[in-house]
Amino acid sequence: MSEQTQNTPSAPCDALLDYAYGELEGAAKEAFEQHLAECEKCKRELEAFGKVRGAARAALPLLDPPAAATGALHAQLLHAAAQRKPSRATTGKLLSFPRRVMQHPGLLAAASLMVIGGALGLNWSKGHLFMPAAERTPAMAEPAKVDLPKGATTAPVVAAAPAATPATPAPALDETTTLEGSLAKDKAADTKVLLDVPKMSAPMKVRHAAPPKEPEFEAKPAKNADSAGELDLRQPADPNSFGAVTGAGGAAKKEAPAARGRYKSGQGDVMNYVTDGKAAEKTTAPAEEAPAPYRNEAPAAAAPAPPPAPKPAPPATRSQVQTVAPNAGYAAPEVKQQKADSWQQPVQSERQVMPEPQAAESVQSAAPPPARKHSGKKSAAPAARDDNGIGATDDARKAFLEAAKSNNCSEVIRIYSDQTRTKRVWATPDEDAEFTRCVSQARREQQSIDNAEQKRASKAKKAAKPAAADAPAQAAPPPAKSNSAF
């Protein structure tokens, strides 16, 4: 039996306690008073409870807290109350969770780890974990990859490109500046441009590349942020144009509108060969920083299309553009690898690292104005390079001269490209001139071949369409070939 049922008297008697303690009011109080007048039991209980309450109050008087403890207790309580921070109603409930996180060391550490981990994960997912894009040197990026026309030969040309400098407009070159002078100047630069010499129909001349032309190529967007400034230069509409462009970011887009090949950001040094049948265009910015070592690069490794370098190649063109970081200790990536994200040191056999004094010397030689002549100091440089462990220099020089005498242009171009890539300063002014002549000749030959092909194509079209035989021949112009740029 529960307490409730044990002590449940009649319904009016339930209000005895409420009445005894003054909790009845109004009609309920009057009703109980009427009941109390009639119920003797309730009267006795009420009287007894009153006596007990009186005795209890006498037995349990309200005592004051001890005075000694009250003062200190009071002060402590007030101190604790004063140190309490304002309630959430004052500061707002919105910031309660961040405030709680900031006040708790464990939560703060966890939040920091989450932020750092999230940032790393984001960078990892984007492939930028190791280095921001802005700090990457151009040579670390993917090497230049150029679509080549059929039967192209390789004619690497060295150009300068300070990697860390922003894009600056290239200085204007004199119209009469020869390619020879530009080539010599480029040797002291930091960016190596491997340029397949295309067929040339006219002597190459260096033109100022600054005036932007209407782009005739389709520029692919950069693959990602790492390859900012990297352009993919498509087949130019002009079949006679060829070239490779190095330059500072997107600025080189318009500096080499007719160039075909993949552009690698050189950031400051622009070398542009554009031969539209009459001229070659080249712009080189002055190289201010120490030059990077040049790497000997197999021409056949750049693309499967070109024939091996030693073989006499048809006068087609192949352009390769590759930038090399100005950092002397950094290894330019292999073209075979197509990607150069690694920081590992280069293989010494693949590259000849120029000592710092020689690099400075090379910079000096590149410093003169565009129309400069090769000095004797420059001519003495190859001997110094020969002492650098390059034993085949003399043989290569002899072979170069023999090929030049026999007018074997493809061999001249091959040897020149090999040696200039291997050694920073290899060619003498005479050799440069021979190379320039051979490049021009090869281009002219290619031009003639292309013209002949166009004529044949026109005739074939006319024969295929007898209905259009009466139409004038010029009504059906030859379509531009996508792969025969030159």
Binding site: Q4, A55, L60
Partner: protein, 189 residues
């Protein structure tokens, strides 16, 4: 309390001043030890400070405060560290300092009304302390703290009818104790 929650420290001082005496008496009668009662009272006010942010004006502040105090008293009683048996040397009157031994030795029961009232108080106090805890806490909250039955129900966490039932039990037991004393006093006279 709402003012203190908004940052008014003086409001808390008012709370302490106003409720210090009744809360101390309730705790003292509950734990039956003056030192422990001070500790529990201080802890009660500290709990009020800590819980000020969570205080919502849904219940009476007194109810909330006595709930904290009652829970602390229950914990202290369960620990039982300071629970003492009635000692003959312990002061029975807070203001006098007389002991039960004094009253027994002098044999002055019924000598005058003051002595009878004093003995009655002692008996009554012993009877209250002898109440079961569930009845005693309700009796104390009603008689000492002057809480209403519905408030007591909230503090204790039982229904109001249960509170009244326990109160009735407590009163009847105290009445029985008082009747025994009256019989004893009549016999002595």
């Amino acid at each position: 309390m709402l003012r203190y929650r908004e940052g008014d420290v003086r409001a808390f001082e008012v709370i302490v001043t106003r409720h210090r005496k009744p809360i101390y008496n309730f705790i003292l009668r509950f734990v039956r030890d003056a030192a422990q009662a001070e500790d529990v009272m201080q802890e009660t006010f500290l709990r009020l400070i800590k819980g000020a942010d969570n205080y919502e004006k849904q219940a009476k502040f007194t109810t909330w405060m006595y709930t904290i105090a009652r829970n602390l008293c229950v914990d202290a009683s369960r620990r039982g560290k300071h629970r003492k048996a009635a000692s003959l040397d312990a002061p029975i009157g807070e203001d006098e300092g007389s002991t039960l031994m004094d009253m027994v030795s002098d044999g002055a029961v019924g000598a005058d009304g003051k002595a009878i009232q004093r003995e009655l108080a002692i008996r009554m106090k012993q009877a209250i302390e002898a109440l079961p805890e569930e009845q005693r806490e309700i009796f104390l909250l009603r008689e000492v703290s002057d809480l209403q039955f519905n408030e007591i129900a909230q503090v204790v966490g039982v229904s109001e009818n249960t509170v009244k039932s326990r109160m009735r039990y407590a009163l009847e037991k105290l009445r029985e104790a008082l009747e025994e004393y009256r019989d004893l006093a009549r016999a002595a006279q």
